[in-house]
């Protein structure tokens, strides 16, 4: 299967990034964590938006929890 036009979500410096196959191949594999592979940039961005939304929800839940505790 040809992955040269694939897009990836990676975790680097505690942040999610959408990156092309070409750019990914230039990175040192010790400097990031590969999450998932997508057919298109749009698909990767759509997943990225979901991940960000989930992180915001998780942060809000933590804040609510702290508020209740005080």
């Amino acid at each position: 299967m040809d992955f040269s036009t694939s897009w990836f979500i990676i975790d680097r410096n505690k942040k999610h990034e959408v990156i092309s196959h070409e750019d990914l191949s230039k990175l040192d594999p010790h400097t990031y964590t590969l999450l998932q592979n997508f057919k298109s940039h749009q698909d990767a961005m759509s997943e990225m938006a979901q991940l960000v939304k989930q992180n915001i929800n998780a942060a809000n839940e933590k804040i609510d929890h702290i508020k209740k505790a005080h």
Partner: protein, 314 residues
């Protein structure tokens, strides 16, 4: 040991028994399924088994399976990189799935014994397989006899396997043992290794069986470790994982197996995949399965943290 020169050419490499992601309404999430398969192929899997044991096959309808496979092929997943597990109790429904696999030119189909609520006779089981092969005569899709855990599936007795192999040898490429029994692997090798290829789904048995391929549940999470183990053969090399004490793939598989042993397997795999992909939606199982309870989650998170997964290398 199988001798492929005398037998049909079976599948090679690691084929994850792919998990099926569902949405909050429990419908199949086609986009996440596609992305998961794409990621596994990128990490070195030769292909995937869809709607198998880990893929909650019995929970999905024929229409859902058709729609999913059509979507995957349309989105560029190579059809010859997919095997379809045909789990059903109705022979006509299984025949339809074989036709579907043939139409889509899938790599192969896995055919198991039906679910049933009373004991099945040898004659009954042989007739069941006769029906399937007679009603799919024009199909050129390779078939594998798929042995599943006895608690949910009827055992496939040796006598039935023998008869079915003799009658339908042109269609059956191998036997896949997914019962979880190592001793059954040895029995199958003794009885049928001259006739067909024998595959085990136990990752820790790869070396013993020396088969060219494996259908693996663990490969959903650690495909590269399973791949390493498959290709390492007798001479297992240590895995070079940065920051981790040097370990063999054997040891990593046993560690992983120990983590999972305490939990309902499919829900646990999904939970771990949610951690790997950092997407909570992966935690959802489809009824009648349930998501992991809070006690299991706490225990699983603790042991998985100790496992210290390195997704780029494992």
């Amino acid at each position: 040991m199988n001798n492929p020169t005398q037998l049909k050419s079976g599948f090679h490499g690691v084929w994850p028994d792919v998990l099926s992601p569902v949405k909050a309404d429990h419908s199949l999430d086609l986009h996440r399924l596609e992305s998961h398969i794409r990621t596994l192929l990128y990490k070195g899997a030769s292909g995937v088994v869809v709607f198998g044991e880990c893929g909650e096959g019995p929970s999905f309808s024929h229409d859902e399976k058709t729609q999913a496979l059509a979507h995957l092929v349309k989105e560029g997943i190579p059809s010859n990189a997919m095997m379809l597990a045909c789990v059903d109790s109705s022979a006509p429904e299984v025949a339809k799935l074989i036709h579907l696999a043939d139409y889509l030119k899938l790599h192969a189909v896995l055919i198991s014994t039906p679910f049933y609520y009373q004991d099945l006779s040898t004659d009954g089981l042989v007739s069941y397989f006769d029906f399937l092969f007679e009603h799919t005569q024009k199909s050129s899709t390779p078939c594998y006899l798929h042995l599943l855990p006895n608690k949910v599936h009827h055992e496939l007795p040796e006598a039935v396997i023998n008869t079915v192999l003799d009658k339908h040898h042109d269609r059956i490429f191998g036997i896949i043992n997914q019962t979880g029994s190592s001793s059954l692997n040895q029995d199958l090798l003794k009885s049928f290794a001259e006739k067909v290829l024998i595959y085990s789904c136990l990752e820790t048995d790869i070396k013993t069986l020396k088969s060219a391929g494996i259908i693996s549940a663990m490969a959903n999470i650690i495909p590269k470790v399973v791949l390493h183990q498959l290709h390492a053969g007798e001479d297992v090399q240590a895995l070079q994982i940065p920051g981790l004490k040097v370990k063999t793939s054997d040891e990593r598989l046993v560690e992983f197996q120990t983590i999972l042993a305490q939990h309902p397997s499919i829900a646990a795999y999904k939970y771990l995949l949610a951690q790997v992909y950092k997407n909570h939606d992966w935690k959802l199982a489809r009824p009648p399965l349930s998501n992991l309870d809070s006690t299991s989650v706490a225990a699983l998170e603790k042991s998985f943290a100790t496992f210290d997964l390195h997704p780029n290398f494992e």
